[in-house]
């Protein structure tokens, strides 16, 4: 049997052969959802010595956190390459405000399908390099981390619900996709209007 014959025979079993194209309005909705759900974080120059010191401090904290927030073995962490081990510190990047994303009204389904990590936490500190540390109080999805660090870039404003930025002592609900905080109404102060119910519906 020639290659062409073989390919023809295979093609006759193609399950997508009868798939009709998506209607244009579905296509534009998909496009809009992709472009508004996550704003790409621009590459950032790492300040290595400072980060190394911060990382060392975080390791100590994470060790303590591990003892306190040790996950039950049955609850395997799910998804993504954010962090590989339970109770590790997860690092996220908050997109800067420079990318003017068009935000649609947040949808629980969008949150459920896009977020690979979501948690509730309290800001315990913000260091000189604008790295925000949060103590996790509840993980909705993803790695059962005790601590999360968010690299809050200069210009992060009006992207989080509530005051628009992380402030010490306040409680937040944060969702992330592949290491980038989801904005546009998907992350913010825990008592921001509608945010908690969005999380309850999504997860």
């Amino acid at each position: 049997m020639s290659d062409d014959d073989l390919r023809d025979r295979l093609r006759r079993t193609d399950p997508a052969a009868s798939l009709t194209p998506l209607p244009p309005d579905r296509v534009s909705r998909l496009l809009e959802e992709s472009m508004s759900a996550v704003v790409a974080a621009p590459p950032r120059r790492l300040r290595l010595p400072v980060l190394a010191a911060a990382a060392a401090a975080v390791l100590l904290l994470a060790g303590a956190g591990w003892l306190i927030f040790r996950p039950r073995p049955a609850e395997a962490p799910s998804t993504s390459a954010i962090a590989s081990s339970p109770a590790a510190t997860v690092r996220l990047t908050a997109p800067d405000g420079g990318h003017a994303a068009k935000c649609r009204e947040p949808q629980p389904s969008q949150l459920a399908s896009s977020a690979d990590f979501a948690f509730a936490g309290t800001v315990t500190g913000i260091d000189a390099t604008n790295v925000v540390t949060l103590a996790v109080t509840r993980v909705y999805r993803g790695t059962r981390a005790a601590l999360v660090q968010v690299d809050q870039q200069p210009g992060t404003s009006e992207t989080l619900m509530g005051s628009g930025k992380f402030e010490p002592g306040k409680n937040y609900l944060v969702a992330a996709n592949q290491g980038t905080v989801m904005i546009c109404g998907y992350s913010g102060e825990a008592d921001a209007e509608g945010l908690l119910s969005l999380y309850e519906k999504a997860f």
Binding site: M1, S2, D3, D5, L6, R7, R9, L10, R11, R12, T13, D14, P15, A16, A17, S18, L19, P21, L22, V27, L30, L31, E33, S34, M35, A37, V38, A40, A76, S78, T79, S80, H99, A100, S113, S114, N177, Q178, T180
Partner: protein, 173 residues
């Protein structure tokens, strides 16, 4: 590239990606998972638009492939194992007419069947298959050749190849 250019570029290339990836997923998983993974794949394409090569379809298939693998892993973890896995291994209801090919494909190793699907269903040449799978073009070419041979052998074994038996090009004793 400013954010307007970025949007314009995405809007220009995404519809073709959506159609192609939709088909790719419809061939490999159930409709609900396909929807989820399509959205996820688009998000990744949007986020990594700057890394997208000119040949964007194989790249997008590669992204979809990893997103699908993640989704399947998550589903396995959630113990929704049986139904989904079988949906994954025998993608969709096969159209009537060539049960022999379907049976022969099911008898192949997963990676052999997958490379044949990429070749016949996604209509990709070896160099593009290589881009999807993240292997060298040479490796893809060899694997494809072997997979075709294995499929021919399977078809012969099951007797589904009746009438084409004499054509054994490329076959060694």
């Amino acid at each position: 590239m400013n954010s307007d250019d970025r949007r314009a570029r995405f809007e220009a290339l995404a519809p073709a990606v959506i159609e192609a990836v939709r088909r790719y997923l419809a061939r490999r998983t159930d409709p609900a998972t396909a929807d989820d993974v399509l959205s996820e794949t688009l998000l990744v394409c949007w986020r990594r638009l700057d890394e997208m090569p000119a040949e964007h379809l194989p790249w997008a298939y590669g992204v979809a492939r990893l997103c699908l693998a993640n989704a399947e892993r998550a589903q396995r973890r959630q113990a929704r194992l049986t139904a989904r896995i079988s949906a994954f291994l025998t993608p969709g209801p096969p159209p009537p007419g060539d049960a022999g090919v379907t049976t022969a494909m099911a008898a192949l190793r997963g990676e052999d069947a997958e490379i044949l699907r990429l070749w016949a269903w996604e209509d990709l040449a070896p160099a593009r298959i290589a881009a999807v799978l993240g292997v060298t073009a040479n490796a893809a070419s060899i694997r494809l050749h072997r997979a075709k041979q294995k499929l021919r052998d399977e078809l012969r074994k099951t007797g589904a190849v009746a009438g084409h038996e004499e054509s054994t090009e490329g076959r060694r004793p």
